[in-house]
């Protein structure tokens, strides 16, 4: 559990390896249920987007499974701690297996970096264990010498299937 949540960048412009390490660290914070530290990885104007449609382009006039700003994400994190959060008694656990993130684009002038990460995600609670396959796209930028998430997009391979509860974060 001793992993540092947010490592400062060595230089003003992140290396590919720093981008990759950041994405891997984000998944680890979720798996270790360090949700407050996880939330700190998000910029104040960040969105977490889980489309409902295959190749969805519009989060506003097409429905999504999640399209949440930091306020809504922080509500989820607070709720997970709640004494009367009955759907989390007992708590869910989750587990990410990431392929090595690929750096899709880097634009230092625009302070914009995009990575693409195929992953398997497992969520369990009591006797149930569910496997999801997805691609995570991270849109990152540097703020005060640290990487921050501007947008995390999670495309489920079966985004249009009927799901049971998905209670944590992919």
């Amino acid at each position: 559990m001793s992993m540092v949540a947010e490592a400062p960048l060595k230089n003003a412009v992140p290396t590919d390896q720093e981008l990759i390490d950041f994405v891997v660290r984000e998944a680890r914070l979720i798996d270790q249920q360090r949700f407050d530290e996880w939330l700190d990885l998000y910029a104040d104007d960040a969105y977490y987007w889980m489309p409902l449609e295959w190749n969805q382009t519009d989060p506003r006039l097409t429905c999504s499974l999640m399209y949440e700003d930091k306020l809504l994400l922080s509500i989820r994190v607070e709720r997970l701690k709640g004494a009367r959060t009955f759907s989390q008694k007992p708590k869910s656990r989750c587990h990410h297996v990431l392929q090595t993130p690929q750096v899709d684009s880097r634009d230092a002038a625009a302070n914009s970096y995009v990575t693409w990460t195929p992953m398997h995600y497992v969520e369990t609670r009591l006797e149930e264990q569910t496997l999801y396959a997805a691609w995570a796209t991270h849109h990152l930028s540097v703020e005060n010498g640290k990487l921050k998430i501007k947008l995390k997009r999670v495309d489920l391979i079966n985004c249009d299937a009927a799901f049971g509860n998905i209670q944590l974060f992919m």
């Binding site: 006039l61 097409t62 429905c63 509500i75 759907s87 998905i166 209670q167």
Partner: protein, 437 residues
């Protein structure tokens, strides 16, 4: 050992004035009888005609557990067909929705059918000569559901010939559909935004009952809505209240709010919460919308349409609509302990986009499998589905604000926390379950 098949008295005994037997939720046999009798005897929602705008467009769904197709026939009317090849039973369509052109073609042996289901052609037809094929069941093609009604775009079907006609079945309850549709300046809705599909390990009736259960939000949703209220309190003073907070926070309204909001009861299990006000009453105005409504209807009528704040209208057996949000939830039975919940959203034609944006946000925040509000509810349904296996008490209590003279009453408005709508749904359940038995 069958306990209920063909035994109307045994089925009636499951529903008492103030309680229902757990077998209505847990018995696989009762579930099968619902599929055989109760659903075919009722007018069941199929889909919206905007899902099939052009000739040849189809949409596959279910009535109870039976696969059916909604299709736009070449003459422009909508038809409802059993989605089964008359040859060997193969499901005809490949996708959930699409366009089949002028005819359906079965992918197995290429029998083809017009879009009203009638048989068009069979390859190597001479093999059926002198076999009496004309008299066979198969020769009639894909069987249509005979009783279909398109009510201002909303398509309902009744499989059995018996039972009530459409007007008798729905009566005054159609006013909730009217209000939802009239919220468009041109009186027209369009399915839009995509459907959320959420699997529930519980009986479908638990979901239907929950739609008028006004004593649970402030308890079961304390974790989600309560957290929203708490987190929002910490926002710097003067911060504009986000749409998401406007949507979720009212779930924490106190008991008095729900008592005073009122419930209306109609015949045949239909009814709605939110007679006077509801959790949808205090949303911010959408710029430009009221002006459009006034231009279309005149100010007085526009105010009357938008002044309705009906919360949930339940149409027996298995849908709920929210007029002010333009949303329809379809509780699709799969097994006694399994239900697929589909939440559909509508665009008000010729109204500002921001209404659809709010509708979709509501759907995502409340009805998605990723929704924290949804998690709260499903946890309760699943615990009930489990708890009902206890033999200590075989009855579920629905007694809240019961009055002995309520059975024959219709179109009455009562205290908003009454369990009358649930008792009423079960009276309808008995009626349509045993009809013709």
């Amino acid at each position: 050992m069958p306990r209920y098949a063909g035994d109307a008295a045994a089925l009636r005994a499951l529903v008492r004035d103030q309680e229902v037997h757990r077998d209505v939720y847990v018995s696989e046999e009762v579930f099968q009888l619902e599929m055989e009798h109760m659903f075919p005897n009722s007018w069941v929602y199929v889909g919206h005609d905007s899902q099939v705008p052009n000739a040849g467009d189809y949409y596959g769904t279910t009535i109870g557990t039976q696969p059916i197709l909604l299709v736009r026939h070449t003459d422009g009317t909508v038809k409802v067909l059993h989605n089964r090849c008359p040859h060997k039973g193969t499901r005809i369509t490949s996708e959930t929705c699409g366009n089949t052109g002028k005819f359906f073609r079965c992918p197995y042996h290429a029998w083809s059918f017009k879009t009203d289901g009638s048989l068009l052609a069979i390859p190597l037809k001479k093999g059926y000569e002198n076999t009496g094929f004309e008299q066979s069941h198969a020769a009639t093609g894909m069987a249509p559901v005979r009783h279909v009604r398109n009510y201002r775009g909303f398509v309902f079907a009744k499989i059995n010939d018996g039972g009530l006609d459409f007007e008798e079945f729905f009566g005054e309850s159609l006013s909730s559909f009217d209000n939802m549709i009239d919220r468009s300046p041109v009186g027209q809705l369009k399915v839009a935004g995509g459907v959320l599909r959420y699997m529930h390990n519980c009986n479908w009736k638990m979901l239907v009952e929950n739609q008028t259960d006004t004593c649970h939000p402030m308890v079961a949703h304390e974790s989600s809505a309560g957290t929203v209220v708490e987190v929002w309190k910490k926002a710097p003073p003067g911060t504009k209240k986000p749409m998401a907070v406007e949507i979720i926070a009212p779930f924490m309204s106190p008991y008095e709010f729900f008592e005073n909001m009122g419930i209306r009861i109609w015949d045949n299990g239909h009814g709605h919460t939110g007679v006077h006000h509801s959790i949808h009453s205090d949303y911010s105005a959408i710029p430009g919308y009221f002006e459009k409504m006034t231009a279309a209807y005149g100010e007085k009528r526009a105010k009357a349409i938008l002044g309705e704040n009906r919360h949930n209208t339940v149409y027996f057996p298995n849908i709920m609509i929210k007029g002010p949000i333009q949303l329809l939830r379809h509780f699709k039975p799969i097994a006694a302990n399994k239900t697929l919940v589909e939440s559909w959203t509508f665009q008000l034609v010729d109204a500002p986009d921001m209404l659809l944006e709010r509708t979709l946000m509501y759907n995502r925040l409340i009805n998605a499998p990723t929704s924290i509000v949804g998690h709260d509810d499903l946890e309760m349904y699943e615990r009930a589905q489990e708890g009902l296996h206890s033999n200590a008490n075989e009855w579920v209590n629905l007694q809240r604000l019961y009055s002995p003279d309520e059975a024959g009453q219709t179109n009455v408005a009562v205290n908003g926390t009454s369990e009358w709508p649930m008792r009423h749904q079960f009276r309808a359940w008995t009626k349509f379950m045993t009809m013709g038995m």
